[in-house]
Symmetry: none
Subunit: 217 residues, 4 copies
DNA sequence: TATGAATGAGAATTCATTCAT
DNA sequence: GATGAATGAATTCTCATTCAT
């Protein structure tokens, strides 16, 4: 019961901070703003977190924890394009939930060396997870590359960059983000790999059935 | 001569500000820092610029001015893949020169409605310029799309996002940016459109000559 | 058994506080630091002491209690220079044990009128004790003063000041305090009264035997 | 004229700080208190001094500057006991003017390594000055020591400690400091060296004339 | 006795900006 | 055009202390 209160306060602070950071950016949101918004004294906020940096770190820890389960799937399951779609959508959700970070990531990482190191570690393991995920498509024949000609490493990187920055792209253009926009980003990423999606025998040289597959919700 | 001095001071301020913003971010760089670094009094800085926002706006005006000539080419010239490469490199150079902005763009635009509007206008016209540029490839047959099947709008958007965020991607991963990295980003973008680059008759079904073309420096 | 625990906690707090005060000064040591260092909650600390002032008062009470037995000797005992030496050494030990107080005494007394009054009372009675102690030397003929010429009151005050401030003098000069230094301070005090130490008949006009006496450990 | 204003503000800050520090101690006096008391904004105080430490350093620099001329006399002048008296009085005045420092010296030096180093340097050169000053008495025969028996080094150190701590001794005992008290401290110091003041031939074995000399104002 | 979350005043410091010269 | 002293609100963070449990 004691524990519950602790968690509540800590989580209340983190939740409030994320909301304000997303709304106004970390620079404009002071620790006093967070405390006031969470209806507590500044002293209490500092009782739970040593400083602003630590709040940001704790937020990112929350975020990191949400990523791993998305891209790491049991080995014995056959992944489909539908799996890719659903993972990308979950990915977008996290990116949106913590969008303040992606808007200021370089500055934030520059200001906190410890965070930078941790972040790069997390990114590395996330990339490995995602590459392994993609690797399954190649193995299962859903994706086909001409060895020595097609660089699937490049396509993967391009897809990664688009996935990470799609929401920011919308925001910079003043576009309101909604689920339709997330779908749009998803199609965008799939459009990069579309030429490499295998055409099953007997289906002719038409992309139609894939088109159908890609645009299903 | 009078004018010249005015311009010099203004430009000195802008140049100093860009350098410091790139190094430390707009949040950490105060107007007094800029003045000190430019070896002038804060009063003088404020004589030339109404406030910090106006400095940032002036910097972005400089940046906007550099973009237009890159993507707007005379109509009668036949564009080649080599032209695309060189334009993209020039693009990267601008992105690098004003990288502070791309690192904090959303926050900066959120904080300054006037700037936001201007920026979106600039982006729109830049997109039109670039789309027109790409359009020429399609017209000239260098790029081939299956109407109704391939969405070249999507590919263009994906390419744009990758182009705009490639440097940030490197920075976030702690990679030092140099000309080799710019090349790498360039190949990345080209890899997206590679499947749509036309194979000239008589050249067989090999991608070899394109490979050669893409990897030329 | 109940009582024992109370005493233990109280004494643990006092002991911890003295250690931290000596290390960092009363200003830098918060009640929370004391509680953390003593491995208890701040609430518990405040259960035992009303506030920080009261902790300091209790510490000084401990100190005062240690002084009385040093300088008050049974009347029927003949005091020697050796007694003076040993008392001064014990004196130094107390001064060192509670050195934080002597470093900040004036500020501490100024901030707490009650403490100030108590302290001055204690000092007065200590001075009386010490003067009585010295008086015995005069009575016993070990010290000889020319009445009306030599002001032994002054010599006593000078000795007192040197005794009280010798450790601070070392600290201010960055000298590490060890037992050799305590000896040194002791000799310093004795050097003030050396001219008044009586030369026994038959010992010539040499100071040699006194020299020997003074430098014995 | 510009310079004058600068000096005035800086000196106003230092003067106000010394006054408040002497009254309440450095711990209780915040930079905001100083600014308010000096009738300026906190910002302006920080325009002139980087931080509180720097204010304290500047104050001590003022103090150090006042010491040197006191104890360094031209070589060709014959120093008298009267010179010693007047120097000691000037010394007391400085100690009184900056008494806050002597009350908290160890804590202040511990908190600022740079200050500590400078202070110890200053103390060393001050000791040399003073020792040289005393040396003249020995040379001129005013003071006589039995070599190998009397340790005049010790007497000097004792005198130094008494001189430095006389005012603190008064304060701790709740005694108001006035010029009579300064005289008293002076006599105290002289009482230590009295046995070594030479008796001129023909003046008998009485200390009377010296007594007269020592107690003159 | 003891815990530990919570308070809120206040400390040091920064910064965009103004203004008299 | 240029200087630099001055402002005052805001920011981060600390700390003695309280109180429900």
């Amino acid at each position: 019961m004691f524990e519950v209160i602790v968690l509540r306060t800590k989580e209340l602070i983190l939740h409030t901070a994320v909301t304000l950071f997303n709304e106004q950016g970390t620079g404009k949101v002071s620790t006093n703003h967070i405390a006031t918004s969470a209806q507590m004294s500044p002293g209490n906020l500092y009782y739970h977190f040593k400083n602003k940096e630590e709040i940001i770190r704790a937020i990112l820890d929350q975020m990191y924890a949400k990523w791993h389960p998305i891209w790491s799937l049991p080995d014995d399951i056959q992944v489909t394009l539908e799996d890719l779609r659903s993972r990308l959508l979950l990915n977008f959700e996290i990116l949106w939930e913590y969008r303040f970070f992606y808007r200021e990531a370089i500055a934030l990482l520059q200001a906190d060396a410890e965070l930078k190191q941790k972040h790069q570690q997390m990114m590395e393991s996330r990339m490995l997870d995602q590459e392994a995920f993609i690797g399954r498509f190649v193995q299962s024949g859903v994706l086909q590359f001409n060895h020595g000609v097609d660089n699937h490493r490049q396509l993967f990187t391009a897809g990664w960059i688009v996935a990470t920055n799609w929401l920011g792209f919308l925001e910079m253009n003043g576009v309101t983000v909604d689920s339709a926009r997330l779908q749009e980003g998803l199609e965008l990423i799939l459009s990069i790999i579309k030429p490499y999606i295998a055409i099953h025998a007997g289906e002719g040289n038409s992309y139609d059935h894939i088109e159908k597959k890609l645009s299903e919700d």
